[in-house]
Each structure stands twice: as C-alpha cells, then as structure tokens.
C-alpha cells in the first residue's frame, strides 16, 4: 500500500470537473455534473490509479437524485465523485463501459430508483418480483407503500 493521496494531487487531476474537498483524512469528494462523469472517472482511473469501484451510492434527497461513485486504489484514499440528476428526467450515460463492475450497480439502481442509464447493455429488472408494477420505484422518497394493496409496506403507525 502506497501513501494516501494529497488534496493537491486530486485537485490537479479533477479540479476541472467541479469542487474538490477533503472530507476526512482518507476521503476526498468531488462534485461534478452528469455530462462530465465519464471523463472524471477515466481521469481518476488513469491519473490517480483508482482501480477499484467500491460502490455507486444512489439516493433520492427529495429534490433530485444523487449518485456518488466511490473509487479507491492501492493508495487507500476513497475518491467520491458525486453528481445530481433532476427528478423529472432521471437519465444519464452508463459507465459500465469503463468500469465493468458498475453494470450490476446500475441495474440495481435502475430497478429501485428508476434512473435510466443510456447505453447500458442489459438494463432489466433484477431485484423486484416479476409481478411488481412498472413505474413504481420503492426507494424514491415519494413512493408510499399503500396499506390494503399487496405492497402494504411499512406500517402506518411507524411512519
């Protein structure tokens, strides 16, 4: 294991995509826009030796969808590249061409949050039951389980 990456090092590589901030001793967060994600990931891979995609965290914060790509490498620093997607048009190009493991994560995000990854080779239902209705994405904040229907979900009094 080589030493941790410095903030400056990351800045020089990824500053052009957006703000770079040090979150923790071994965690650096970069905020960028969906159009640039491809290039940002590529530069992180080539310049910063990030060879391992830890996770694509996806969440719905009420106003927009956030996707955070966590990458790491032999240096042990986790580089988080974050993007936001508008709620009305959740679409972005796939990254599975440069990051093979992203294929699974994207498919999962598609199923649970309804974000469409254009260019994905096999974007199909993967987690939910085959009789789950289309256009219902349980992890969206505005998706409420309906009592009385098969998807009773979390009990009313618990909410």
């Amino acid at each position: 294991m080589t030493g941790l990456l410095g903030l400056e090092e990351v800045k020089s590589a990824l500053e052009r995509f957006g703000t770079v901030e040090q979150v923790r001793s071994n965690r650096i967060k970069v905020k960028t826009i969906p159009e640039k994600i491809h290039e940002a990931l590529f530069r992180a891979q080539t310049l910063l030796a990030c060879d391992h995609l830890i996770q694509i965290s996806a969440l719905d914060n009420g106003q927009s969808f956030e996707l955070i790509y966590h990458l790491t490498g032999p240096h042990g620093t986790v580089i988080a590249i974050a993007i936001e997607l508008p709620r009305d048009r959740p679409e972005m190009p796939t990254t599975s061409d440069i990051l093979p493991p992203a294929g699974i994560y994207e498919r999962q995000i598609y199923d649970l949050l309804g974000i469409v990854f254009t260019g994905h080779p096999n974007l199909k239902r993967i987690i939910l039951s085959e009789d789950w209705p289309e256009n219902e994405f349980p992890l969206r904040k505005d998706w409420k389980p309906r009592p009385k229907t098969p998807y009773g979900g979390v009990r009313q009094e618990e909410r």
Partner: protein, 179 residues
Amino acid sequence: MGKITDSLSRRLANWARVNSPWISVFNTGSCNACDIEVIATLMPRFDVERFGILAKGSPRHADILIVTGPVTMKQESRLKRIWEQMPEPKYVIAMGACGASGGVFQGLYHVVGGVESVIPVDVFVAGCPPRPDEIINAVVACLKLMKEDLAQGGREWRQKPVQSPMPGTTTREPGEVPA
C-alpha cells in the same frame, strides 16, 4: 384375527412413521441463520440421524418441510409448488420469528408475511434463529402431532377457526394477482 393383524399393521406403520421423519428445507427469503442452524442440526454435535431424521433434497421424499424466513413476493408461488409436490402425509414447520409472522421483516414492501399466509403450518419454532435443540424439539412436537393425527384419523381436529389477519401483514388472497 383380522382385527388383530389390522391393528398390528397399523401400529407398525405408526411406529415407522414416527421413527423415520425425513426433512427438506426451503428458504423463502430468510437471512440464512435459520438454514445454517438446520444444517448444524444434522452435524456431529446434534446428529439427528440418531432419531432417524435425514435431510433430503427432493421434496418428494420428505415427510416434513422446514420453511425458513418470511415469504417474499417472489418465493410465494414457488413455496406453494414445493408444498404441492410433497406426498401425504406431510407436515410443515415454520422456522423462527420470520416464519411465524414475518418477524423483523414484517410489513416490508417485498414481503408477503409469515409462512402460514401461504401454506398451512403445523409447528412454529420460536427464536431468531432457533437453536438446533429447539429444532429437534420442533420435529418431536411435529411427531407428536403426527401420532395424534393418526389416532384421530385426520388433522381436522386441530384446525383453527378462521382467524383474523395479523396486524401489519398484508392481506393477499392466495392466487390473487397484485394490482
């Protein structure tokens, strides 16, 4: 003479049935802990072969179906099919809190509920997960039921009156297609 041989053969059959319960395990969405404990029950520490219990892969060979976990939407129809494949007389044991009611997963959006919301259950085992000795105890309880059933000539005597659905569990009629 006929009477004697008849009762003798029946006693022999009952003895055999009670002494040779074969089990088959089906996971309907459990966290694995129950499955692992069932396997641990077959292992040297607990060794249920002492009681003639054998684990069989094919539900066709099994007398007792052990169902672990809450029933997820996807496994519901599969559980039913497995149950239908078993030859009579067949018994079902629902493992753990999840098998009984859905447990910690009760009311989650992809969970139908406990095992009893899909197929009739004979014995429930408490615990999360139940210890292997509790599993053995459950099988023994199941054998007691078996004996009682044989004496009563069927399982009608212990059929419960229509029960109100458990709070929090979804009410989904068998075979109903979700909206």
